[in-house]
Symmetry: C2
Subunit: 96 residues, 2 copies
């Protein structure tokens, strides 16, 4: 059975309508350091992981569920991901 290995880069960000206290804190910190040409700071999560699946669609479906169930809070966060195939893995058939 052929399995494909994918590298995923996932970006979890707060929805635009949600206040970003961390981003606001960084922005005022930068202003105190003299960087007043920097605005609109939004801070989110960047997740890298490796996933094995039979094809890309299965990998995408699983990543959607993983993001919805664990990595992102759908009420206040958005997510998007990029998927890159990195290897093909031959797995021995298990005859039951």
């Amino acid at each position: 059975m052929t399995q494909r290995q994918y590298q995923a880069h996932i970006y979890v960000t707060l929805r635009r309508s949600v206040l970003d206290p961390a981003g606001t804190a960084v922005e005022s910190g930068l202003k105190n350091m003299g960087y007043d040409n920097v605005t609109g700071i939004r801070i989110g999560k960047y997740v890298e992981l490796s996933i094995c699946a039979s094809d890309e669609q299965q990998a995408r479906n699983q990543l959607d569920r993983i993001c919805d169930e664990l990595l992102a809070n759908p009420v206040i966060e958005n997510y998007r991901f990029e998927l890159t195939e990195v290897a093909t893995v031959q797995k021995a058939e298990v005859n039951s």
Copy 2:
């Protein structure tokens, strides 16, 4: 005086040699949820911001300093960023 506005996407990740407790916790959480085909989870920061500068090199130099001084801990973290020009801004010359 012409100033250019850039949108920056910054990725701050732990160095490979550094243990990632958050990533390890998410990995075991996923295994408990039945996702045992997901490995190598690394969690970092994803920062979006807007920066005004006279040209791209000046924007890059400032972002390097901002990452070194505030957004990333150079001892345990790496950073990289992508820069996209989004607007050109005409600023009135201030005659002193």
